[in-house]
Every structure is written in structure tokens, then in C-alpha cells.
């Protein structure tokens, strides 16, 4: 029987832009805060996993230890697109379940600066002078914008519009309501990159990026870090009662990739692997969607959040439009979703996101979420997707 796994410390930096800091400053700030939160030191830690997508090949984990304590422990530097942070966390969880470690540290960090909505594609590319087939599709030139769009705003817009095609009661307004909600939620989160409320009309009349996503329906780029200290059940029993009291159980930790699906090659399919991960996580944790007190899901774009209501089973099948229309995912609704402000307003420093959502749920389950506390929260779910694709779902309980 594998060990129980517990979160005993968690932290995140405020997300934003830190031109005067580097990745190590941000990672160290989060790591040291998580160690303090668990009343442990780096000397107690037996495994470190670090996710930093933009510096995936730069040994960020070891460089972090050189800043906070070089103890010779195993270090895993991981990358999984926007699921990078959750992958780091899951690496530590697996090590504990395997019995190789009984306490470990996971850190997610990213410094994106003002990368722009389109990432590197926004910088333009030099033109090739003579056509010559390249790659597995034999493309003779850049096909972005010629054979449809593969950039994030358009891909997630199309994912949302496909849901609108297949289901009733979903349109521009339902997608916009998601952003209205998350911006409103963020006003209670001092660690959010933005803390500004917008009316539905302001959301809908903001600059159109890729219909139906306006600027206020796209997450910002930014910098930040998050960290978690994870321990086995056996280790936890040997720790001070105050740590035990505040510990949050990892009731499920699941990762999936894309099973084959029709259309998956035309456009990344963010639905199938999320549904698969959710089903496995509910089974592993022995809970269902009705048991969830809060959910932090991957709202990189407003269209994404809406379809994940259905993918995670939060609403009736096909009922995501009705779910947002009746206010169910608002903080005073039946299943609060993204009470942190979500990626849309809290921000999305890629590597940090999949641990920052665990930090958020942990705070609520401990009753330490201050102004934005969901009263009496006992079960929470986190979800991230790294396009390409990797999906991680964690269910936390206390």
C-alpha cells in the first residue's frame, strides 16, 4: 500500500512583473516561504523537483539549491508546458509514494516579462527565400494564419466555439461571464497580478484578440513562483501537532496525455485528457464533483474555463452555459471556481501555475484564505493543461 501524501507547507509570490529579479530570486522566495510554512529547513528535504519552462535546460533546481542550501539531494528539472509546476509537484509525490523519500520540495517558477500574448510567434520570423518542404507536413513556408491559427488565443477560442457548436445556450456572452467572474474574484486576492473588477459590458467591448476572446478574456503573461513541501503520512505523524493540524491530504494526483481522438491533429484536444484525468482523480480520491467545495482550473482563456466545467463534471453534460448563467461558479455559488482570480486575473507565470493552484486550495482547506476564504472548505480540486498535451488533476482534502 503506497504511503499517504500530505502538503505540509505551501507558498506563492505575488504574481506580476519583476524586472529587477531573476528566476532564482523568485524561486528562492517561494521555496523558503514554503519551508517556513512547514517549519522545516532545506536540510530536512530529501528530493527537489523544479519546473521552469523557459529555462528548462538550465538546471534551475541545482542553481536554486546553490542559493538556499546545497545538501546533495536528488534534483529533477521538469518541463510540461503549462502543466510544468504540477509535474514538479507530482514528481515529488511519486517519490514519496515509491518510498524513496518521505519529505520533498516542489517549486514552479517562471519569468516571462512582457512576452506578449502570442509568445515567440509575436516577434516575427525571417522569410525563407526559396520554397523547400520541411518537417513532417512538408511545409514550404510558415503556415500560421494561412492554414488557420495555431497560436494560443485562437486555439482556445476554437475549443470554446466547438463546445458552442455541440451544445445549446453557449455564446460570446457566456464566455465573457467567466472573465467577469474571475476578475471580480481577484479583488480579494492580494497575490493576484491584477485586482480589478470589470463589468460584463467592459469585458465584451474590450479589444478583440481572437473571437470570442477579448483582451480581458486572455490571461496575462508575468513572473512569479510557487512552492510546496510534501511529506508522507508516516513522516507527518512524527512531526509537531501544529504541522499535523495544518496538513492537507493529497487524495488524488493524476496525469494524462492525449489519447487518440478524431480531430486531435487538426486542433489540440483539451477535452478528452481532462475528462480522463478527472475520472481517475475522482475514483482515486473517492469523491465526486458534488463533494467539491472549490475548484482552481486552467482558465488560460475564458473559453477554456467554460468547457472545463463540463470536462470536470461540475455541470450537467452540455450544461456549461446554464452553469455560468446561474452563477454556479461564483464564490457564493454551488461550486466556486477560481476564487483566486484564476489565470485570467491572478496571472499565469507558466511554471508556477500548477503549484500556485495547490497553494490556493491548501489555504482554503486550512481556513487561512483570509478575505476570500470559502467557509468550511474540506475538498478542493486543481487542474492544469499544458498544451500538446499534459493534464494534471490533484484533489486535496482535510
Amino acid at each position: 500500500m503506497p504511503e499517504d501524501v500530505w502538503i505540509i507547507g505551501a507558498s506563492m509570490t505575488k504574481f506580476g512583473r519583476y524586472p529587477d529579479k531573476d528566476v532564482l530570486d523568485l524561486a528562492a522566495e517561494a521555496a523558503l516561504a514554503a519551508l517556513d510554512d512547514s517549519s522545516t529547513t532545506i536540510a530536512d528535504i530529501q528530493i527537489l523537483a523544479v519546473g521552469c519552462l523557459f529555462e528548462a535546460n538550465a538546471m534551475v533546481g541545482q542553481r536554486l539549491l546553490s542559493q538556499i542550501g546545497q545538501t546533495g539531494i536528488p534534483v529533477y528539472n521538469v518541463a510540461n508546458a503549462c502543466a510544468t509546476g504540477a509535474t514538479a509537484l507530482r514528481t515529488v509525490i511519486m517519490s514519496i509514494k515509491a518510498g524513496e523519500s518521505d519529505i520533498g520540495l516542489a517549486v514552479g517558477v517562471e519569468q516571462m516579462g512582457k512576452a506578449g500574448l502570442l509568445g515567440p510567434a509575436g516577434q516575427g520570423k525571417p522569410k525563407r527565400k526559396v520554397f523547400e518542404p520541411r518537417g513532417r507536413y512538408g511545409a514550404v513556408t510558415n503556415v500560421e494564419g494561412v492554414l488557420g491559427t495555431q497560436l494560443m488565443p485562437g486555439v482556445f477560442a476554437q475549443a470554446g466555439m466547438e463546445y458552442a457548436y455541440e451544445n445549446e445556450g453557449v455564446g460570446f456572452e457566456q464566455f465573457a461571464k467567466v472573465a467577469e467572474k474571475n476578475h471580480a474574484h481577484s479583488t480579494l486576492n492580494p497575490l493576484a497580478q491584477y485586482q480589478k473588477r470589470f463589468t460584463l459590458d467592459e469585458v465584451m467591448s474590450a479589444e478583440m484578440i481572437a473571437y470570442p476572446n477579448t483582451l480581458l478574456m486572455c490571461c496575462p503573461t508575468g513572473d512569479g513562483a510557487a512552492a510546496a513541501v510534501v511529506a508522507s503520512g508516516t513522516k507527518l505523524k512524527s512531526m509537531p501537532l501544529e504541522i499535523q493540524r495544518r496538513a492537507v491530504k493529497v487524495a488524488a494526483s493524476v496525469m494524462t496525455s492525449d489519447p487518440w481522438a478524431e480531430g486531435g491533429q487538426a486542433q489540440p484536444d483539451v477535452n478528452t485528457l481532462t475528462r480522463l484525468a478527472a475520472a481517475r482523480a475522482y475514483e482515486e480520491a473517492g469523491v465526486g464533483p458534488a463533494d467539491l467545495d472549490l475548484v482552481e482550473l486552467h482558465d488560460c482563456f475564458a473559453t477554456a474555463e467554460l468547457i472545463h466545467y463540463d470536462n470536470l463534471g461540475l455541470c450537467e453534460p452540455g450544461g456549461a452555459g446554464e452553469f455560468i448563467d446561474r452563477g454556479a461558479p461564483w464564490r457564493d455559488g454551488s461550486i466556486p471556481v477560481n476564487v483566486s482570480g484564476g489565470l485570467l486575473s491572478k496571472g499565469h507565470p507558466l511554471g508556477a501555475t500548477g503549484i500556485a493552484n495547490v497553494y490556493e486550495v491548501t489555504q482554503h482547506l486550512r481556513g487561512e484564505a483570509a478575505e476570500r476564504q470559502i467557509e468550511g472548505a474540506r475538498v478542493g480540486l486543481t487542474h492544469v493543461i499544458g498544451l500538446g498535451s499534459a493534464c494534471c488533476v490533484h484533489i486535496l482534502t482535510r
Partner: protein, 140 residues
């Protein structure tokens, strides 16, 4: 007439131009790119198959902010062809306005010259235009 090449190798120029997939002979799954084994069933053998030139719009977006050099706005869509194959491309000959595009509208394959290189060779790309001439209509 200028020399023409297809922008990707799954577009086959001819009269009429067509899209081809590499089809798994074991399970029938179709792939636009070169595969080593079938992603669906692990099958080893593939054969070329022409896919239908007509289908419906499953989803679309109207892109307003794009990489430098890409004219905006334009309409990107995923089209479900009559045999179920799905392909991404731009919609041609429609206003970039949500009111002009209906999910489920019928479309057909069309080609256009996307770019010319320094030797005067034209790269021919494909898109889909509404069937029956212009305006979108619901397939319901």
C-alpha cells in the same frame, strides 16, 4: 504560368486540387503528417487516401491580433469533412464577422496562392469557402 508547389504535402495540386491523408490500413485512422506507427492502434502500414472536398464548420475564431506580417482579421476554422476527417484552415470569401459565419455551415475546398519565393515559385495554400456561393447558412 509560374511554377507552383503545395504549401504542405497533404495538399495535392491537380484538377481539382485535393487533400490526402496517410491512412492506417488496420484501423482506418487518417493522418496529415508522416507517422511511424498509427497513433490510434499501433498499426504499421499506411496508404494514401483522398479525403472529401466538402464538409461543415465545426468551430471557428476570428483572429484580430496575429504575428507580424499576417493580415488581420481573418477566420480560422476546423472543418469536418464528409468522411469525418477534421482539418484546420482559413475560411475564404466570408466577412470576418461572427454574424456572417454559422457553426455547421457547409463549405468546400478552395486554393489560393499564399506566397511567392525569390525564384518566382508560388506556394499554393488551401482554405474553405461557403458552398452555394457566399453567405453562411445553418445546416439545421
Amino acid at each position: 504560368m509560374a511554377k507552383q508547389v503545395p504549401i504542405v504535402d497533404y495538399l495535392v495540386l491537380g484538377d481539382p486540387p485535393r487533400l490526402e491523408v496517410s491512412t492506417c490500413t488496420a484501423c482506418g485512422a487518417g493522418f496529415f503528417d508522416r507517422r511511424i506507427r498509427c497513433g490510434r492502434c499501433g498499426g504499421r502500414d499506411f496508404e494514401r487516401r483522398v479525403v472529401p472536398a466538402t464538409g461543415i464548420v465545426r468551430t471557428f475564431t476570428i483572429v484580430h491580433r496575429a504575428a507580424p506580417g499576417t493580415p488581420t482579421p481573418y477566420v480560422s476554422a476546423v472543418v469536418e469533412l464528409d468522411d469525418g476527417t477534421r482539418v484546420k484552415a482559413n475560411l475564404l470569401g466570408v466577412e470576418p464577422d461572427p454574424k456572417a459565419i454559422t457553426l455547421g455551415m457547409k463549405v468546400e475546398l478552395a486554393t489560393f496562392v499564399a506566397e511567392t519565393d525569390d525564384e518566382g515559385t508560388e506556394a499554393v495554400a488551401f482554405g474553405f469557402r461557403p458552398l452555394n456561393g457566399g453567405k453562411g447558412f445553418s445546416d439545421a
